[in-house]
Symmetry: C2
Subunit: 335 residues, 2 copies
């Protein structure tokens, strides 16, 4: 790889001039500018990004922690992050954590060692070990979709999960449902609490009792949906409506219900969450809550950029609006 010195020699100027020509072309005379540019082309020079970064002390990279790459909803958020990062001149380092704390920690450490300038966390955990806790305290970090556990005060972008679940519940109640099951994803998370609270608040208002046995499941997977639906249907009083905390769970649940001979929505209504691309094409098309994933990613990156530029944040928390998509997997309660 040719370096700046070779260019300077070829052009018969100093390295400083080469550097200037490339960064502030207007500050060098047109004549030398041309000489330098020609030299650059002639020797095939590309500025060494690493070297430039040591100087500036900034890597212009960020790390994104994703619990699961094979999840269209998460990746749509990442898409938004990356697009925006690109605009700001940042690169995205992918951290596939699989929800593994050790991995999260490893990736997060990149910020501590100047490998990245900031961090976006899609999961809810605080990805620094006790050892790094102090160091990590004043790092540029934003959480999107989930909210970082504990009282660290990191900003976050999230959906109005409480409101969305209220809307979902009202939707089902309007169809006459009085018996609700819930198949949850990650239990120990803010999302879980917000959503459950949203559902329960409406049920309370309507005087509907929600018993613990109506809450099943513990992961955002199709398999969990299958298992959860079976569990619910084996109850003495099975629910007529099932709220699933993501679309994969709903897909699994519907599959399980069908194979048990139940019709959706005639016998049981099922609703999901996220509005992943395949949901309109399921049989039946899935009633679900659309999350503005791309926009969430964009906002998260905007916010992170603010933090990395040491600009004050206008808000530390953004609650984005949901859209309830009423499709065919939910319907009137059976007689």
């Amino acid at each position: 790889m040719p370096n700046i010195k070779q260019v300077s020699q070829y052009a018969g100027v100093s390295t400083a001039t080469v550097s200037r020509t490339l960064k502030n072309p207007e500050v060098v005379s047109p004549k030398t500018r041309e000489k330098v540019l020609n030299a650059v082309k002639a020797v095939g020079y590309r500025p060494n990004w690493l070297a430039a970064s040591v100087k500036s002390g900034r890597s212009n990279s960020i790390v994104v922690l994703v619990p699961n790459l094979v999840n269209p909803f998460f990746m749509r958020i990442v898409e938004g992050i990356e697009k925006t990062a690109q605009e700001y001149g940042y690169s995205v380092l992918l951290g596939d954590t699989q929800g593994n704390a050790e991995l999260e920690h490893q990736y997060a450490s990149m910020v501590l060692s100047n490998r990245a300038d900031g961090l976006i966390q899609l999961d809810h955990s605080y990805p620094f070990s006790e050892l790094d806790a102090e160091l990590g305290a004043d790092i540029a970090m934003v959480s999107v979709c989930e909210r970082i556990k504990g009282d660290h005060g990191f900003p976050c972008i999230e959906l109005d999960n409480h409101g969305a679940c209220r809307a979902l519940t009202h939707h089902l109640i309007n169809y006459g449902h009085r018996s609700f099951g819930v198949i949850a994803g990650q239990i120990d998370s803010q999302i879980h609490r917000d959503r459950l609270a949203g559902i329960k608040s409406v049920l309370d208002e309507e005087g509907i009792i929600f018993t613990d046995q109506m809450l099943v499941g513990s992961s955002y997977s199709i398999e969990n949906g299958i298992k959860g639906a079976r569990e619910l249907m084996e109850l003495e009083q099975p629910p007529t409506a099932i709220v699933c905390f993501n679309d994969d769970i709903a897909i699994g649940a519907i599959h399980a219900l069908k194979s048990m001979g139940k019709r959706v929505p005639e016998d049981v209504s099922v609703v999901g969450f996220d509005n992943i691309p395949v949901t309109p094409y399921m049989d039946p098309p899935l009633t679900t809550v659309d999350q503005p994933a791309l926009e969430m990613g964009r906002r998260a990156m905007d916010m992170l950029h603010q933090m990395m530029s040491d600009k004050p944040l206008s808000r530390r928390r953004e609650l984005l609006p949901f859209r309830l998509l009423e499709r065919a997997s939910s319907g009137p309660v059976p007689q």
Copy 2:
């Protein structure tokens, strides 16, 4: 951020000793080692990765070019890449290209500027502009899933697409089908040619004529599947079997067929490609070709690592085996 000098002063040793303690602990005396380690902890020191990289001239990062993040099949490959990269001590820079040549070029240029040491391309295009062509010629690059266009001689990992399509076609012929439609994805690609050739080779052997009008579609999307299926069904002699070049297309096709009142597979058989996680749960479950995506990613990274370490490659091309998954979207030809 504390630097190595501060640690050395705190510990009362030279910076070299600090550096050694951290990289080759066994080469310093236990006593100084302890002093240094204490100092490190005391000042909260983390080695600056950027600085270390300038020295070594290696970033220990790679770029992965992905045409579409919201595609479980692609992301499963990326998962394999990342896992393996991790093992080798590399980080993954995400390049969401959307098939955009300009973006591909930008991301690829990172290798030229020492921001990354190598590149894995999931799409088929050669991501260097003419200007960079010479520079790009001896870069560590591997293509996985697709094969890089042109005669650049970059190694690649791919599925036995030809064989897979032969198997798919035989499967359908065994069910008595004689009239085949194909809904294609990206037309201008090696995959497309290989797959089409695979299908045609079997049809030829069986004396079945395949006319151009039976080939429709031009992108790997659900919408393309819907459109393609409609086009095929509007023909005077619609096919009884439709081969889709990925699962999304198949999902769209089945949806369209159903809404036209056709039953799958009783009236029309549909098969897909990739075996994305949702396919077993579609209605009907999709007959498809499983690609060992994780393994493909792993092999790609293995190969790239070889190249980046200047080790000779055992092979320049790896053809991975497919698995035909016969599920319920394909069946006997209607009478």
